[in-house]
């Protein structure tokens, strides 16, 4: 009994102690100062590879875009999206040589740009030799994290570093995901790849695709004309990498503890990665060697009114430290955001209705609990599209005859995409009627039709197509179409599939769901065996070519292994595509694009679906930001008010302790009579027990 009491009191003391510092009792960051200038955010997918030549997924770019700086960046405030120089002094000058069919991009870089402090660049001041380029195996195995190196150095970025990085794209050991694509454009890239299969020294190989001219100038040579190439120069693939880094990281023994370039980046950006623990958190610190960079002083007309120019002209970055924590469960993420432990939150479909309701004017407003906490909402259009596709090579749903066109048109009219957006994304999307998303050249706003009208029209067209009331004339039964889906374990999946079936059931057509795992699905689409499926595309850059190329005949998935998963091929469309590919934005280009969209609307290879929007909530201590669908390096523009945050956290997180008291009381109430009864029976005169 005494033991139990002592035990309980120990627990109570522990609990109380937990709340004795100025952190709230449920603060998940006990080791950080309560009023630190630190940004807390979360990631749900663990980044696999941070090497800028290999990394190609959104969660990895969210990290490395703050660390690596490519030649160009997007202007933070100007819309439509504009490229401006970052490490380059200006946008590259392009000259086209018709004889050799090569475009040359001449690039000048700014002097005085330094790398973050890194042991690979540490130099012994007396001898001038690199300190850590000759590690013995024993020394290497003793290193557990990069911080174990006691010295770090830096040097200036030169043009040779960029050329070195471009050569790395061809390195067969790195398997860069853009190699195949770039090999069609950068002169000599494919050959370099073959060369590197046998020799390993990158630095001194002659390379026609990229050439150093002097310390701060170099040129890139592209086959033919590819005006969208400059967009690629704004991606981490074209950041500088010092050759010392590769030499350093390739030393035997370092990869035992993950001391590699894909784990510890070395960049010139406003932040550098100091802790890489994808199972728990990633920590970035302000880069002391960051070159002077300032908040833009001009933007769009209403930026001033929205407070987006309050920080104009101030030196970047504002935040000292960024901590990304791993959050796999939606519930945790949302709860912590509401409690003030994350500074921003993306809203997933299931949280949406708690945050937003509609005001009387019909605008989107936040619910009272969030308004009370002074939380802000930012909405932005993403350059993406979610669609349902028909396999044009299929017997039943494919083909270009008028009948088949009508069949597909009827089905696409029956899909109530507004309802889909409402249920599965809670309004975070706009209806699409072409593959090009809003804010991208060539976008066409959809006209609004009544759902019931559309359905009637669909039924009529379906009858004209030869399937009256959805019945297949050859079998007399309802027409059956196979829908290929991926089993993702996503709890929403069943509802989504049920909804899709409902849409076709409206026409009397039966949709047969064939769900397989990811591999099998890719097999099916690559072999051209799918009939109908859902897919999406996230643009690489904000140009309509990056959307229309998915309908270009020679990009067909089944025959050529390209991105045209519907295997659509129309010669007139292909002709027009080749024309607009190399055009600059102009009324002529718009006219041609509209022609192409008209062709697509007739054939209906896709049901257009919707363009996702991103809704991000911000806590009141976070400065105003402008969301961007293409730029990832915007953390440097964010500013926090840490004191306000510390105050509000304590205010919002007062623990409720009364249930403990009630529980203790209940326990006593239950046990007391039993103990009394026992004492009584012990003290009675002995009786016969059975």
């Amino acid at each position: 009994m005494v033991v139990v009491l002592r035990f309980i009191s120990m627990l109570v003391v522990l609990l109380v102690l937990c709340g004795c510092d100025n952190h709230a009792s449920n603060d998940p960051y006990p080791n950080q100062p309560a009023s630190g200038n630190i940004l807390y955010s979360a990631f749900s997918e663990q980044p696999k590879n941070l090497d800028p030549v290999v990394s190609y997924s959104a969660n990895e770019w969210a990290l490395i875009s703050q660390i690596y700086e490519p030649l160009l960046e997007y202007h933070y405030l100007k819309r439509p999206y504009q490229l401006q120089a970052l490490i380059a002094t200006q946008l590259p000058q392009v000259t086209y040589n018709a004889k050799t069919d090569i475009s040359t991009y001449l690039i000048n870089i700014k002097p005085g740009i330094f790398y973050q402090p890194h042991p690979a660049l540490a130099v012994d001041t007396a001898t001038g030799k690199y300190l850590f380029h000759e590690l013995t195996l024993q020394q290497a195995l003793a290193i557990r994290t990069l911080k174990d190196f006691k010295h770090a150095g830096t040097r200036e970025v030169t043009a040779a570093d960029f050329v070195y990085q471009i050569k790395r794209i061809a390195d067969p050991r790195l398997n860069s995901p853009i190699f195949g694509f770039m090999a069609n454009y950068i002169v000599g890239l494919a050959d370099l790849n073959k060369q590197l299969a046998t020799s390993l020294e990158l630095r001194n190989i002659e390379f026609a695709g990229a050439r150093v001219i002097d310390n701060y100038t170099f040129e890139i040579n592209i086959i033919g004309k590819y005006p969208q190439f400059i967009y690629w120069l704004a991606m981490p693939f074209f950041s500088p990498i010092p050759w010392e880094a590769t030499k350093f990281y390739n030393q035997a023994g370092l990869e035992e503890h993950n001391i590699t370039l894909d784990w510890y980046p070395i960049g010139t950006g406003p932040y550098y990665l100091t802790e890489n623990n994808p199972d728990r958190r990633m920590v970035m610190l302000r880069n002391p060697n960051y070159h002077p960079d300032y908040y833009p002083s001009e933007g769009e007309p209403d930026d001033l009114a929205n407070g987006l120019l309050d920080l104009a002209g101030k030196k970047l970055p504002f935040i000292d430290k960024i901590i990304f924590s791993l959050e796999k469960e939606n519930i945790s993420y949302w709860d912590k955001f509401l409690q003030g432990y994350y500074d921003t939150s993306g809203i997933s479909s299931d949280n949406f209705n708690s945050a937003i309701n509609s005001g009387n004017q019909g605008g989107l407003e936040l619910t009272k609990p969030l308004l009370d906490k002074k939380i802000r909402l930012e909405v932005s259009n993403m350059p993406s599209i979610f669609y349902w596709a028909f396999n044009m090579l299929d017997e039943t749903v494919g083909g270009y005859s008028e009948q088949k066109q009508k069949l597909r048109k009827a089905i696409s009219l029956a899909f109530d995409v507004t309802e889909y957006i409402a249920i599965f994304t809670n309004g975070r999307g706009t209806i699409a009627n072409s593959p090009i998303p809003p804010e991208i050249f060539g976008y066409q706003a959809p006209d609004n039709h009544e759902t019931s009208e559309q359905l009637q029209l669909a039924k009529t067209i379906l009858a004209e197509a030869g399937y009256p009331e959805g019945k297949d004339p050859t079998t007399g039964q309802a027409l059956q179409i196979n829908f290929d889906a991926i089993t993702s374990g996503d709890p929403d999946e069943k509802s989504r599939l049920a909804w899709t079936r409902k849409q076709l059931a409206k026409l009397g057509i039966e949709l047969v769901i064939r769900a397989t795992d990811y591999n099998r699905f890719m097999e099916k689409t690559s072999a051209g065996n799918a009939q109908m499926f859902a897919w999406g595309w996230n643009a690489d850059y904000p140009d309509p070519e990056n959307f229309l190329f998915m309908f270009y005949g020679p990009n067909g998935k089944a025959k050529f292994g390209g991105e045209n998963a519907a295997n659509y091929a129309n010669s007139k469309f292909d002709e027009l595509f080749v024309k607009i590919k190399t055009m600059q934005n102009s009324p002529q280009r718009l006219a041609l694009i509209q022609q192409m969209l008209a062709i697509l609307n007739k054939d209906t290879p896709w049901i257009w679906g919707y363009h996702p929007q991103s809704f991000v909530l911000y806590n009141t201590w976070h400065s105003k930001t402008k969301p961007s669908g293409v730029a990832n390096n915007t953390l440097k523009y964010a500013k926090l008010d840490p004191d306000l945050r510390a105050k509000l956290r304590i205010l919002w997180n007062k623990p409720l302790l009364w249930p403990l008291v009630i529980l203790a009381g209940l326990l006593i109430l239950i046990i007391a009579p039993a103990i009394i009864g026992y004492k009584r029976s012990e003290n009675t005169i002995g009786k016969r027990t059975k």
């Binding site: 139990v4 522990l14 609990l15 937990c18 709230a24 009792s25 449920n26 603060d27 998940p28 006990p30 080791n31 663990q46 696999k48 590879n49 190609y56 997924s57 067969p172 050991r173 398997n175 995901p177 853009i178 190699f179 195949g180 694509f181 990869e255 035992e256 503890h257 993950n258 894909d262 623990n277 199972d279 728990r280 924590s325 791993l326 959050e327 796999k328 469960e329 519930i331 945790s332 709860d335 912590k336 409690q339 432990y341 374990g489 990811y518 591999n519 890719m522 292994g561 997180n653 007062k654 623990p655 409720l656 249930p659 239950i670 046990i671 039993a674 009864g677 026992y678 012990e682 027990t689």
Partner: protein, 322 residues
């Protein structure tokens, strides 16, 4: 005794080999090396050459069991990847990270949850079971059994989701999820441990109660009672000690498996332990990690069986080795 232990360990080797072959066969029937490569390279712009390069780099370009070209067994995927496990060389996961390092980093959080959960769970189960045995026949026992059956009938998922919702969100006692090392990390452990313990009370208390009741009905207890000892001291001095034997031997078999962590609790509470490591590997079909975990789990299980036998022998002098 040592001879017995040595024999048991020797016997474990063919079992481990069998486990290895089983998992190997299972996994390579599911995913050919080509498919493993395409999962890890991602979905945008992947060419056949890149797949071949990836396979070469990760050691999947070899034949499965027998290399006819070089007439050897060692130049095969099976030898390179599975046999090396016996040397505790877990190798590299399919995403490039070193598995042994990951295991050494992650076993501590798993233990940080599993050991307190075990100890507190044991304590509470014994207390509750003793309470029920003590007050047997009264309303406390009857209601206790009913409560235990009810608690047993609720899925662990409900406990976790409900506990997180109630304690972290509404009552705000502890953080919703997360982990930190050291003493300060106690507040992250409280909720997962509480949930594990409450989830285990139902079946544990009932089971232990049957042990206590078995002991209480024995003759020596009746003698003690006749001699005039109070019920309480009989329970604590005699019954407890004897009932502890089956209880502890049942617990010992679980000890090595503590390392593996509870898959569910670690996932929901974002504890970076071995359990969440395993679940992530299953979901992303990382064969290297799964086979390493399976191997580890098997070793620990066999160790557990061995420990159980030894504890049993040490605790109960009537048992003989055969």
């Amino acid at each position: 005794m040592w001879y017995y232990i040595a024999r048991r360990i020797l016997y474990a080797i063919p079992i481990l080999l069998g486990v290895n072959i089983l998992t190997f066969v299972l996994f390579f029937v599911v995913n050919t090396p080509d498919e493993i490569a395409s999962i890890h390279l991602g979905s945008k712009h992947v060419t056949k050459q890149q797949i071949a390069d990836w396979k070469q780099a990760h050691g999947y370009a070899l034949p499965l069991f027998y290399n006819a070209e070089k007439s050897s067994i060692t130049q095969t995927i099976f030898w390179q990847k599975s046999i090396k496990l016996f040397l505790f060389d877990f190798g590299v996961a399919d995403n490039g990270r070193d598995i042994s390092q990951a295991i050494t980093e992650r076993y501590a959080p798993s233990l940080a949850i599993a050991i307190p959960a075990l100890v507190f769970g044991l304590l509470i189960n014994i207390i509750v079971a003793m309470g029920m045995a003590f007050f047997r026949g009264t309303y406390l026992d009857a209601w206790g059994v009913v409560l235990c059956v009810i608690l047993m009938s609720i899925s662990m998922l409900f406990y976790i989701v409900g506990g997180q919702f109630l304690v972290a969100r509404i009552l705000k006692w502890v953080p919703v999820s997360g982990y930190a090392d050291g003493m300060i990390g106690i507040k992250f452990i409280i909720l997962p441990v509480m949930v594990s313990v409450i989830g285990g009370i139902g079946s544990g208390a009932r089971w232990y109660r049957s042990f206590f009741l078995e002991e209480i009905n024995k003759d020596y207890v009746r003698t003690a009672r006749a001699k005039g000892l109070s019920e309480a001291s009989i329970l604590f001095k005699h019954v407890l000690r004897n009932a502890l034997i089956p209880i502890l031997t049942g617990v010992v078999v679980l000890l090595p498996l503590l390392f593996m962590g509870s898959l569910l609790t670690e996932s929901f509470f974002a504890i970076p332990g071995l359990g969440s490591y395993t679940i992530d590997a299953i979901r992303s079909q990382d064969f290297a990690i799964v086979r390493a975990m399976v191997f580890l789990g098997s070793i620990l299980y066999i160790l557990g069986l061995l420990l159980t036998d030894i504890t049993y022998i040490m605790a109960d002098p009537r048992i003989e080795l055969n």
